[in-house]
Amino acid sequence: MTKGFVIPRFRLPAFVSAIGVKLPQWPHALALTAGLNVAVKMNLLPEDSLALLENRVFFVEVLDTGGRACFTYRDGLFRPVFYAPEASDLTFRANLSAFMQLLARQEDPDTLFFNRELSIEGDTELGLIVKNMLDAVEWPQLPKLPIFRH
């Protein structure tokens, strides 16, 4: 749980997403997959769970920034996908604050889901695998940013 710094629940003004959706989306997918691949390289993600993600397509949308990222996992690496997200196996949608609270382990995904702040669509079992995989990660000491402190 976060000590000291607590990420508040907020929603960015509508104009942010209005602009955001018009911007190129590939940098999001590239940044996200690069981050995930660091976790893979550091052996933070269990191999048995990773194997279940092979060739599945994931779509993440940050509603109030308009940011979207589509990616897959293949041959040991997360890779950006540049086609329509309609083909995704699993979709996560939430506002930026909810994603930040999740990453900082300040909020529980079930809580956000019950409260309808996090939307998960698609293959439910795949969603559970991803959720439990991220929950089981023992983040190393590197997160020194306040939002990662817990």
Binding site: P46, R105, D108, P109, D110, E121, T124, I129, D135, A136
Partner: protein, 337 residues
């Protein structure tokens, strides 16, 4: 009230970070299970492999906390050896107790490991002192977890008539509470906690989003429909809204959370040995929040039981992580028997 008379706080661990969160925030013991169907939270990606178990047991025990291993499903035909192997593994690891439901497995554990402490799981569905005493006499069970169907007066009656320690649920999602005897999930999917270790397994669940609403189906059966601003619940049959005699409502049970903060002094007074928090399927954030709050409440009770009162901040913290919009005392304060 002395600390040693306080009920122990038993917290859920579905992963190593959750175990550490429980220990760091004041759990007296954690309960956990293997990554397979020998426990009733056999969800994809959840639970402990050997490496995580070894580290988890070390982390908890080196800090003076206990580790309880749940092996609380029923051995399936032709696969009894898998359940016995789980007991062997737990004994090898040096856990502080195993939580069992299957009488065959209780018998195996008692004969094979006479020094291993045995707890009767809630899935064992012992609701009377006769049932609890039977488990004590036949298998040397030292603690029993009572299903959530008893009133507090009935819990007290059990405690007064048994040498076995009694553990009850203190916080978490409620289901129809007929633990160990519920087959609703099997009715819908052919699989249930007793058989595969999961209620309403995720592979049968579909969340369908359409403009203005979300629909939940379990193996094709319509469970519920939520408007965009309505809270959602777990997709189990018992929490669905169904049409009965022309009315659509929670025909079996409304999604609620159990919360015993209000009756904590009575629970301690009648001699409950331990309070269990539900939720091995929840994340480390949930475990940290709930453990911290219940620890604060128990410590407040220990320091001055006369002046114990429920702080609004505790209730607010627990309400946030609850399923459903309401917290209840469950059966504990029901007038009926």
């Amino acid at each position: 009230m002395l600390r040693d008379k306080l009920p122990e706080l038993i917290c859920p661990a579905g992963s190593l970070p959750a175990l550490k969160a429980a220990v760091d925030h004041g759990a007296d013991a954690v309960y956990l299970g293997y990554k397979n169907d020998t426990n009733a939270r056999n969800f994809a990606g959840l639970n402990f492999d050997q490496k995580a178990l070894t580290e988890g047991v070390r982390y908890a025990q080196s800090r003076g906390r206990k580790v309880l291993m749940a092996i609380n499903t029923f051995a399936q035909p032709g696969r009894v050896a898998d359940w016995q192997a789980a007991v062997d593994g737990a004994a090898d690891l040096g856990v502080d107790a195993v939580i069992l439901a299957d009488v065959g497995l209780l018998d195996y554990a008692k004969n094979r490991y006479p020094d291993l402490r045995l707890h009767l799981s809630v899935q064992g569905s012992a609701t009377s002192y006769e049932a609890v005493n039977f488990a004590h006499r036949e298998f040397g069970v030292r603690r029993a977890v009572l299903p959530r169907v008893l009133t507090l007066a009935q819990v007290e009656l059990v405690i007064k008539n048994t040498p076995v320690e009694i553990e009850i649920f203190g916080f978490g999602s409620l289901c129809v509470m007929n633990e160990g005897r519920c087959w609703l999930s099997s009715y819908a999917t052919g699989e249930s906690p007793n058989t595969v270790g999961a209620c309403s397994p995720a592979k049968y669940v579909k969340w369908e989003k359409s403009p203005g609403q979300m629909t939940t189906r379990l193996n094709g059966i319509l469970i519920d429909r939520f408007g965009d601003n309505e809270s959602a619940g777990y997709p189990t049959l018992c929490k669905g809204r169904f049409e009965v005699n022309g009315e659509t409502y929670y025909a079996l049970e409304e999604p609620t959370s159990l919360n015993v903060l209000e009756i904590l002094p009575e629970i301690a007074k009648i001699g409950v040995a331990a309070i269990k928090v539900e939720g091995r399927q929840r994340s480390p954030a949930y475990v940290a929040q709930v453990t911290k709050t219940l620890r604060a409440a128990l410590d407040a009770l220990a320091s001055d039981s006369e002046r114990y009162h429920v702080k609004p901040a505790w209730q607010a913290d627990l309400a946030k992580v609850s399923e459903g919009n309401q917290a209840t005392l469950g059966a504990y304060n029901r007038p009926w028997r």
